[in-house]
């Protein structure tokens, strides 16, 4: 469970930092009066959707970290047989990076008010994300054909389960992306609401890319080597 | 008034119930009286806090309940009082935790001279295995289980051949000798639970868990399963008999070894004799 404890530690640091700005040591019974005497302690000024996305990313991050924790505990058992990584995963990773870059492009275009740039970015991002999902399915198919079934070894089970959960999160993101694209498509000029939608999609895509890179490190065994090296350095 | 009185009676009644009710732990049969002492310390400390808090509350209700014209004090906080209470609580907690950790250390530190006994749980019966003359238990694996080999012993392990196997029977233990009880399950979680022993531990398939005891009192004790293991969980019973050393050896002599039970007597005896030299 060390991975998830570490993750919650990071969350705790962020929460602690935020709480430390909120004058938790003040004596509220002495502070009758208007809020303007206590700047910075009012409601958050970010839009609700953005705060909401932040909280959701913490929840999703916790979910993936727990999968990582379960993975690292289960892999120490004797019946674990590491699985070969299908080559197509490298291609998929590249496509997902492209998808993230495209969305970032759309985000920059949205800030400039460049409608065409936004549309191109969103469509490119969406298409490459769909390509990524198709590539993941292809990886499943190749593994199945090579005899690596879901129940034949826990390493396989984890591979299928984790990629499925990541894929489902990306699919959910695609729904939001589709709605954003439709919104942008119908309008002539950039509105604050559209800018926000594009921004939120971009943040979510970067998050899923990060998650995927961590998972890839785990599935290929790099994380393991890295942890071993750290351990050797410490001892 | 009546409310305050009832609240106070709840506290007093609880204390009286604790002191005079007939339900208390069973007389101990191992030397884990340290555990009982730790529980007693905890009872004293928590009992004091419980009575003090409820009595204070009852007093407040009695003294400060609403009357015409009463107005509450305005008293947002009292830093010093709060810190004193925190420190006091901290001391109380430490007074419970420290003996607890010391006894836990004894609990997880098995004496070197402890003899091993294996308990195997399966739905819904108990089996036992005692080491033979070589004082070592042979290896086992759930994949070896068959009607002739219900505990799944490894046939190729010479240490296992002389192990005494008791399938679905009672366990005997000699008095005064430390025993390391090794726990194993072949299907689901079980828990080897003898109330008089105080010690208990879950049995987990795929693992060997353990605890250790030193019996100090002869007698026959009920063994129950304390971890939900399916429909007949409540019927998973057997007995442990703690007896004098001579009685124990007499009983042990009548038990069958794995080699005798598995019907490969001749071959195995040869192995055993060569191993014995």
């Amino acid at each position: 469970m060390s991975a998830v404890i570490l993750f919650l530690g990071v969350i705790a640091v962020i929460a602690g930092w935020w709480l430390s700005q909120q004058r938790l040591t003040s004596k509220p019974w002495l502070e009758e009066g208007s809020i303007h005497d206590f700047p910075g302690t009012g409601a958050m000024t970010w839009p609700a959707a953005k705060v909401g996305l932040g909280v959701f990313l913490a929840v999703a991050g916790c979910l993936f970290t727990l999968f990582v924790s379960a993975y690292s505990m289960r892999m120490t058992m004797v019946d674990w047989r590491a699985m070969p990584v299908p080559k197509v995963l490298w291609f998929n990773t590249g496509v997902l990076v492209l998808s993230s870059v495209a969305l970032h492009w759309a985000y920059i275009a949205a800030r400039r008010g460049d409608m065409d740039g936004v549309i191109v970015g969103l469509l490119a991002g969406g298409t490459s994300a769909i390509t990524f999902l198709a590539g993941q399915l292809l990886a499943w198919q190749q593994l199945g054909a090579a005899g690596y079934f879901v129940a034949s070894n826990p390493a396989n089970s984890f591979f299928y389960m984790i990629t499925a959960v990541h894929g489902l999160h990306l699919t959910g993101g695609l729904v939001a992306l589709g709605r954003t694209t439709a919104k942008v498509w119908r309008q002539d000029a950039m509105t604050a609401e559209m800018r926000l939608s594009v921004e939120l999609c971009t943040i979510y895509w970067h998050f899923l890319l990060l998650v995927w890179l961590v998972l890839l490190g785990l599935l290929t065994g790099w994380t393991n080597d890295f942890v071993d090296i750290c351990r050797q350095l410490l001892s | 008034m009546a409310v305050a009185l009832i609240l106070l009676l709840v506290a007093i009644g609880s204390v009286l119930f604790h002191l005079y009710s007939p339900w208390w732990w069973t007389p101990i049969a191992t030397d884990w009286s340290y555990i009982d002492h730790t529980i007693n310390i905890t009872f004293w400390i928590t009992g004091f806090v419980f009575t003090a808090v409820i009595a204070f509350m009852a007093y407040c209700v009695f003294r400060f309940h609403h009357k015409e014209g009463r107005r509450a004090d305005y008293n947002p906080e009292n830093k010093r009082l709060e810190w004193w209470l925190s420190v006091g609580t901290g001391i109380g907690v430490a007074a419970m935790l420290a003996p607890g950790l010391v006894v836990w250390h004894q609990f997880v530190t098995v004496p070197a001279d402890a003899t091993e006994v294996e308990v195997m749980g399966q739905q819904w019966q108990w089996s036992f295995r005692l080491p033979g003359k070589d004082n070592r238990l042979g290896t086992s694996d759930v994949r070896n289980i068959s009607p002739e080999n219900p505990m799944g012993l490894n046939r190729d392990d010479p240490h296992g051949q002389d192990d005494v196997v008791i399938e679905n029977g009672d366990l005997h233990l000699p008095i005064g000798k430390p025993v390391k009880v090794l726990l194993r399950s072949v299907d689901v979680l079980h828990d080897f639970y003898v109330p008089e022993f105080r010690a208990k531990m879950d049995m987990v398939p795929g693992m060997v868990t353990y605890f250790w005891i030193r019996p100090i009192r002869t007698g026959t004790f009920d063994v129950l399963c304390a971890e939900l293991c399916g429909a007949a969980h409540y019927q998973m019973r057997t007995k442990v008999i703690v007896e004098e050393e001579s009685d124990y050896h007499a009983w042990l002599g009548q038990q069958k070894t794995f080699a005798e039970l598995s019907g490969r007597n001749a071959v195995v005896r040869a192995t055993y004799q060569s191993g014995g030299k």
């Binding site: 404890i5 938790l24 409601a43 909401g52 379960a70 | 709840v10 709060e82 987990v204 007949a232």
Partner: protein, 594 residues
């Protein structure tokens, strides 16, 4: 979604609290007003009714269990399999589908927007979805009573391997639907939880700083944050167990013998599931407890006409308990066979949590000191909460102290402990809170005479049920036993005690009918309450209409000038000053208006 002027990541934004007219979702028909409503107050009532309905099922199950335990062999319609199904469904429903849903989905939805001065939750549509997914989860759960094999009898902890093997009732359909229902519940809860957290973070009205929040909001907010981070562990455990059951993977399943045959499984670790389960399960205790802590603080303060003693300590204690509760989970696993040296760490963290918890108890009783205690029904329930919580909390010190837990684990002591601390105590708060806020929800008071009868029967009865039960556990009576049978260490008097507990339990159970009657009768015949019958300070009592209308506040959002506990302030005309009442000095009023 609330539409807010916004310009990019670093841009300055007008906080929603200062936007005068917030665009709200407006219901157009009866169906969208009362069924598919996006108003948090309606959603709260939907959550509460659904949770109470399924909770009543769990209550009936507990009667059946008590009948069997009190009078074994008398009721031929209960067999060992059904008994296990009853305990499993009772536990799961009470902990998750009743208490979690009621405190967060019910009280959270109703009180958060009103108490922080918002018009509604920030994502009303997602909030509505949250309820409907929750309802689906409840229906899936309830459906297990009717599928072949019945509901699962794996115990509410659902420990593998037993949970998915054939020696356990409900192995074919019950366990699968149970896991599916849990997964749905978590998805639904996450939608609601996002709302509660973001509403507190982002939609507080002007002047509502964190330190001016009522402790109810602090409790619910912290509990929601914890739930959002803890439920994923149950989600992961459930998904993996479901795969073990349906696809034959071996995440948790070691090589084992199932009904005399070597199973297809191999290599897995049952302890892995226990770690995941309790990583959720222990925070879950505080997910139920923290809202209760918060609510009871407000009940005591309001009805003792005195500010809550040591507000700052109370806030810090809530935050500290919330954080610490994530590093104590393995105290449920002292005898699970995990690495024994973990025991030192988890015993220490567990007992440390007692300190902030004790501070909260001290501050509740110190709030009573020199108060003006009105012994109203909510106050009585608050007093009942303190007794049962102190009792249950102190027995927690037995079970948290690793070596003391060894003889007591898996006995009736544990059952008595957790029922006292997270069954009876939170239910005391739930009932007290219903008596307290019913006037705001309906505009009418609940009948106080019936309420007092209800309180005394429930409180004394519950205490008589669970206090002696500890001593059965001390004696060594194990939990989850269909019948005790013959055992030399169990005296006949223990069977009499069991029969006594059963009789009291049935009495207390039936006494709840007076409460249900009161709820319905008062809806039509109760005394009209006015907007602020308890003369309370917090914002929900200052709404222009009672029950609050759509959008809560009429044209203008309230502005907050003070904390939520200005009771009996020296020199003030009344013994309470509402949070939105400007200070008496004119300068401050102008400062607020400018």
């Amino acid at each position: 979604m609330v539409d807010v002027p916004y310009d990019g990541i670093a841009g300055t934004v007008v906080p929603p609290a200062e936007v005068p007219d917030v665009e709200l979702y407006h219901p157009k028909s009866w169906l969208t007003r009362y069924v598919f409503s996006q108003d948090a107050k309606i959603i709260a009532i939907q959550y509460s009714l659904t949770a109470s309905a399924i909770g009543l099922v769990a209550l009936v199950l507990s009667w059946l269990m008590r009948l069997q335990l009190g009078f074994p062999g008398t009721f031929s319609f209960i067999d060992a399999n059904q008994y296990l199904q009853f305990i499993t469904m009772h536990g799961m429903i009470m902990v998750i589908y009743l208490l979690t849903a009621l405190f967060l989905g019910g009280f959270g939805n109703y009180l958060i927007p009103l108490m922080v001065g918002a018009r509604d939750m920030v994502f009303p549509y997602v909030n509505m979805l949250s309820y409907w997914v929750y309802l689906l989860a409840v229906l899936v759960l309830a459906s297990t009573f009717f599928v072949p094999g019945g509901p699962t009898g794996a115990g509410w902890t659902l420990y593998p391997p037993q949970a998915i093997l054939s020696g356990t009732p409900g192995q074919d359909w019950g366990i699968v639907l149970m896991l599916a229902s849990l997964i749905l519940f978590i998805i639904g809860f996450t939608m609601g939880g996002l709302n509660y957290v973001v509403t507190v973070l982002q939609a507080r009205t002007r002047g509502m700083t964190l330190m001016r929040l009522p402790l109810t909001v602090w409790g619910i907010f912290t509990a929601t944050v914890m739930a959002l981070l803890a439920f994923p562990a149950l989600f992961v455990g459930s998904v993996m167990l479901l795969l073990d059951r349906l696809l034959g993977t071996s995440f948790f399943m070691p090589a084992l013998v199932e009904m005399g045959q070597l199973s297809k499984y191999g290599g897995g670790s049952p302890l892995l599931f226990q770690h995941l389960f309790w990583f959720f399960g222990h925070p879950e205790v505080y997910i139920v407890a923290l809202p209760a802590f918060g609510i009871v603080s407000d009940l005591i303060s309001t009805h003792a006409r005195k500010n809550i003693f040591g507000y700052r300590m109370m806030v810090w204690a809530i935050v500290a308990i919330g954080a610490l509760s994530f590093v104590v989970w393995a105290h449920h696993m002292y005898v699970s066979g995990m690495y024994p040296y973990f025991g030192y760490f988890f015993a220490t963290t567990t007992l440390i949590i007692a300190i902030p918890t004790a501070i909260k108890v001290y501050n509740w009783v110190l709030t009573l000191w020199r108060g003006d205690i009105h012994l109203t029904v909510p106050m009585l329930f608050a007093l009942g909460f303190i007794i049962t919580f102190v009792n249950g909390g102190l027995t927690g010190l037995f079970l948290g102290n690793v070596v003391v837990d060894v003889p007591l684990s898996d006995t009736m002591f544990v059952v008595a402990h957790f029922h006292m601390v997270m069954g009876v105590a939170p239910i005391m708060v739930v009932l007290g809170a219903i008596y307290h806020w019913y006037p705001k929800v309906t505009g009418r008071m609940l009948n106080a005479g019936l309420g007092k009868f209800h309180f005394w029967v429930t409180f004394l009865g519950a205490y008589l049920i669970f206090f002696p039960m500890h001593y059965l556990g001390l004696l060594g009576v194990p939990r989850r036993y269909f019948e005790l049978g013959d055992a030399a260490f169990i005296p006949p008097s223990a069977h009499s005690l069991n029969a006594f507990i059963t009789v009291v339990a049935l009495t207390v159970g039936f006494a709840q009918m007076t409460f249900l009657f009161n709820l319905v009768w008062s809806l039509f015949e109760g005394e009209p309450s006015g907007g602020n019958p308890w003369r309370a300070t917090s914002l929900e009592w200052q709404t222009p209409e009672t029950p609050p209308g759509h959008g809560n506040w009429g044209k203008e959002l309230p502005i907050v000038y003070r904390w939520a506990y200005d009771y009996s302030v020296p020199g003030a005309a009344q013994d309470f000053i509402p949070q939105n009442q400007p200070p008496a000095t004119t300068g401050a009023v102008q400062g607020a208006a400018s």
